[in-house]
Subunit: 302 residues, 2 copies
């Protein structure tokens, strides 16, 4: 019988293959390139990047399986007293060329810690996905959230509302007073309880992971043929600046990677290809750009 750990490692590698094939098909032109890397101290990863496609301007779908000793920084951030750890996960960010196609992020992960004898202390699942459009399509927003609700509901009707709320709170640019995008789901520290086993949490996490490709393929198909102006591309680049601000100022995952000497190019693979900062840029009142910004808050899309 395989352990949760071994089965989840196998899952993320299979999912990485499926997602990369699916995205190559959706793009129709660019192909992923793979970079394998080893980590000093144990483990490594499989970074796959795609660039300059017909649909995807820059994207990465990474898996990593790492283990060893937690540094002081990592112990503090994870609030654990043990040193020995194991972590594996899949993490992706896709930045489309067209401002009509939203940027998307998704990740699923599993973490275990061990005592000095190497015995299992506990383990938990985490993950999430959020959608960052440049122009708001309310049908997309409803479809995205309804699909995520459907992925979570089999494991408890209370989960989607809780994870949706966590997502709105987590992907929040406090210094701008706006969410990164239109939300999604976010969950962490899913440990066994009296009602749920690790197996249940793994199934739930996989259900969210499995939902990515059908959701994003449909959103790409809906918008990829839409035309756009150079001004709309500039708007996309300004909004990408907000994405950079979130990832570098607020994202715990990025800080964890940087502070624990993670592989910089894999950690920062999430940053968009071309970005723009203009002083005091504000969209015109009543414009589609203004409509987006007005909806960068907790909205009940289902």
């Amino acid at each position: 019988m395989n352990s949760i750990k071994d089965r989840f490692i196998k899952y993320i590698h299979t999912l990485q293959d499926q997602i990369c094939s699916g995205l190559e098909a959706a793009d129709g032109s660019a192909m992923f390139e793979e970079d394998n890397w080893k980590r000093d101290g144990g483990g490594g990863g499989r970074t796959r990047v795609i660039a300059d496609g017909d649909v995807i301007e820059k994207g990465g779908v990474n898996t990593s399986v790492v283990f060893g000793k937690l540094g002081e920084m990592a112990k503090k951030q994870l609030k654990v007293d043990y040193e020995d750890f194991f972590a594996c996960g899949l993490s992706l960010v896709i930045h489309p060329k067209s401002p009509m196609v939203p940027t998307i992020h998704m990740n699923v992960r599993y973490f275990e810690i061990y005592d000095d004898q190497g015995d299992y202390v506990n383990g938990w699942f985490g993950g999430g996905t959020d959608l960052t459009p440049y122009y708001l399509d309310k049908e997309d927003a409803k479809f995205f959230h309804t699909s995520l609700k459907a992925a979570c509901d089999p494991f408890g009707k209370e989960l989607y509302p809780e994870y949706k709320d966590k997502c709105d709170k987590y992907f929040y640019n406090s210094h701008r007073g706006e969410t990164r995008g239109i939300g999604g789901v976010f969950f962490d520290y899913l440990k066994p309880t009296t009602e749920k086993t690790s197996e249940d949490w793994m199934q739930m996490t996989q259900s969210v992971g499995d939902s990515f490709l059908p959701i994003y393929s449909k959103i790409i198909a809906t918008h990829k043929e839409e035309t756009y102006t150079p001004e709309q591309k500039v708007w996309q680049e300004i909004r990408r600046g907000r994405y950079v601000e979130f990832n570098l100022l607020h994202d715990r995952g990025t800080h964890f990677g940087i502070k624990t000497n993670g592989r910089t190019e894999s950690v920062l693979m999430s940053l968009p290809p071309t970005v723009r900062w203009e002083y005091m840029h504000e969209p015109e009142r009543g414009s589609r750009e203004a409509e987006l910004v007005e909806n960068l808050k907790a909205v009940d899309w289902v």
Copy 2:
């Protein structure tokens, strides 16, 4: 008799005027636009921005004079136990259009704290400047550091080496293993000692502030007519990405501004206009781009 505080407020406003006039003359086309803002809780600022010039693509020269109560976050970061504070300073970042002209940052500041009765507890000066070229010109580097040494030397020969070392250590992208640029000077917490009065530190700080315009005007004049290729512009945009990474991941000034609910647009005015991230970008061995990266470390330029 005017206090140190009042005289330094006057100084930064006069310096702001001089620098803005000087930079407009050096640019020859664009003009600064001014934004006055008030701070909830006390004080405000004068943000001046310039964009789309012949030389300067985006730049800001800001002053602020603020006072009131420090929040918990600010007390922690400043390591002070008192609540009442006063702070004023000038801060500038200039991003030139041409990759042949370096980006520059400079700031000078003064801070005071008071006890519950409103009595002065202590005050300190801080500041610094650093140069971020896209192509290395060793003559520029020597000129920049020699000029800063000349600005500091009258106040003690030990100061320049100490501040130069602090600058190399502060403006360091640890996750990239490289300095932000070719360094400069950085100093903070300059309080009265048995040998130096607040007046001495103010003079020293002003000497660094005064050195900015002649230094940068000369560097602009040296390089502004040089031609460059689209590939060299792309290189500049990739390097600007490192500038963003430093400011958002590591810069204490940015974090202080964001965490204390500073004025976001003024805090983030330092970010470059157009920026680019490419996965695993590395300059060709032996190229001018590689020469720059090889020198992004502590180098004795004087």
